[in-house]
Amino acid sequence: MSDTPATKSGFSLRGPGMSKFLEVYGIILVVVMMMLVLAVIKPEVFLSAQNLTNILKQNASLALLALGMYVVIVTAGIDLSVGSIMGLSMVCLAVASKAGVPWPIVLLIGPAIGLLVGWVNGVGLTVLKLPHPFIMTLGTLNVARGLTYLISNGAPISGLQPEVRYIGQAYFGLGLPPPAGIPASLILVAVCAIGLWFFLEKTNMGRHIFAIGGNPHAARVSGINVDQTLVVVYMISGFMAGLSGLLLAGRTDSGFPNAGIGIELDAIAAVIIGGASFFGGRGTVLGVLAGVLIMGILRNGLNINNVSAFWQQILIGLVIIIAVYIDVLRRRAAVRR
């Protein structure tokens, strides 16, 4: 809670107040510092409107996946199926679009598939009582990917209706010369992030999700319907994955069956880099977006400096380890306080 009046809480500004500030906004400083470094090294490339817009566009799908993954990780769960949901959504809506289904319905297909697979994940976890969400979502990862190949026969399907492509491709120039402008995908990410923030911080169900992550027993005896809440959590994650499928299909004007393979791990990495605890109950929406940006800017920075993609992967791996280690150090310092 950043709106604590210092007088009421009795915290001095330099003590826990300062560390609380860093906990919430420190990650933003990391993003700003990365941007400054790149701006100094390659000012003419990195700061170009085209490059900055590209970073946002390329990472919009990942941002949606990471937001959904974040809700799951807050409950100390994990959703491995989001990449496959994304692929299945893309292929299904591409098939429907080619078959001449009216575009308003095509737009709903991705999110609807996401909700459905998310519901299956949630029910598998709570009704079948599988021991860990890792197992249930590993199952649906394979099932959804298999369905994707079955439906597409393993081949990409391209040529979507213009209305379906809109969200992935549209631009608001704001009178600036192209390619500068605000991509529609950025607006979608912003709306989702703000909506999710409101849901998690201001509604009882959002608070119950945090309580489940902190202590599921406490949540249960407080009269919270834990199982029902968990089903909703996995449906949110699936919904976001379906939406990101719609976004990527629009951007690439196709549904390709290999889309999103392994991207669930990027989403998990972004959430963890953004400061959410893998053991549940901790994290912020702002941190998740920063985590996505850190990965995106790192990749972009290495690209424009002609560093090979192989090195990029090594660096991303190191960043994950360092980010979590910093979190460990901070927590240890908090305990000593």
Partner: protein, 258 residues
């Protein structure tokens, strides 16, 4: 027996082939503090979970303020003012004190199943409620994981009494506390009694029982074994009940001090 708050008649509970409780009778009056003792496996926890709605009895009935009741979940019991304080406090450590107190019952605007939580009002309500109970914390914004055992227990009791509780059931309320905090928590129990709240304390510690209870009952192997007003029994006799013996208690007592 006219003004009993909660009465249990002929309660039995089976878990498959295991009989946890057999024909247990029980009652508690408003403002009464009842100590429930018994060895591990005597059925204390099962009985309390039935009273708080976590379990449904296999046989028997519960009567609340003269009318038979059935609980499908802890929420049903809460609606009547029956609250449970768990041995491990059952708090979400990652959340502030005020959110723990109102967890599951957040104040705010309701839209169907969803409530837009009024955090400001919730903080104020928590502060006022803690003041009423004379519980002192630095700030209701503190996460409960940053509190001592006694403070956590106090927050758990505050949560149990946040909504006009009639009966508070406490499972081993002092087991996880530092010795210097035990007295404060037991004083809190006495102040609940003064507010007319009935309290059931499950405890192994004779000190707790003899400090704040009015009456003590013992369970032994899932059945009623003995019960007495506190003034009409002694520590040694109660310890004997726990071990399943009546009479000749002096020889069985673990502290032959007198």
């Amino acid at each position: 027996m006219a003004a009993m708050l909660l009465e249990a008649r002929g309660i039995s509970k089976y878990f498959g082939a295991i009989t946890a409780l057999r024909d247990v009778n029980f009652h508690v009056a408003p403002g009464e503090v009842l100590g429930v003792v018994g060895d591990n496996g005597a059925g204390k926890s099962t009985l309390m979970k039935i009273l708080s709605g976590l379990f449904t009895p296999s046989e028997g009935e519960l009567i609340f303020s003269g009318a038979p009741v059935k609980f499908g979940s802890p929420k049903d019991a809460q609606k009547l003012g029956i609250e449970m304080v768990y041995q491990d406090f059952a708090l979400a450590g990652n959340m502030p004190i005020y959110e723990n107190i109102y967890l599951g019952r957040e104040p705010g605007m309701k839209f169907g199943p969803l409530t837009i939580v009024d955090h400001k009002r919730s903080r104020q309500m928590a502060t006022d409620h803690l003041d009423r109970l004379h519980i002192h914390v630095k700030s209701v914004e503190q996460n409960t994981e940053d509190l001592s055992g006694g403070q956590r227990q106090a927050v758990a009791i505050a949560r149990a009494t946040a909504f006009d509780a009639k009966l508070v059931i406490m499972d081993e309320p002092t087991a996880a506390l530092a010795i210097k905090e035990v007295g404060k928590v037991l004083d809190l129990v006495r102040s609940l009694k003064q507010h007319g709240v009935a309290v059931i304390i499950i405890s192994h510690r004779m000190d707790d029982i003899f400090y704040c209870c009015d009456r003590v009952m013992a369970l032994y192997q899932g059945t009623n074994f003995a019960e007495a007003e506190l003034g009409k029994t002694s520590r040694n006799e109660v310890i004997g009940w726990i071990m399943g013996t009546k009479g000749h208690t002096a020889s069985l007592a673990h502290d032959n001090m007198h």
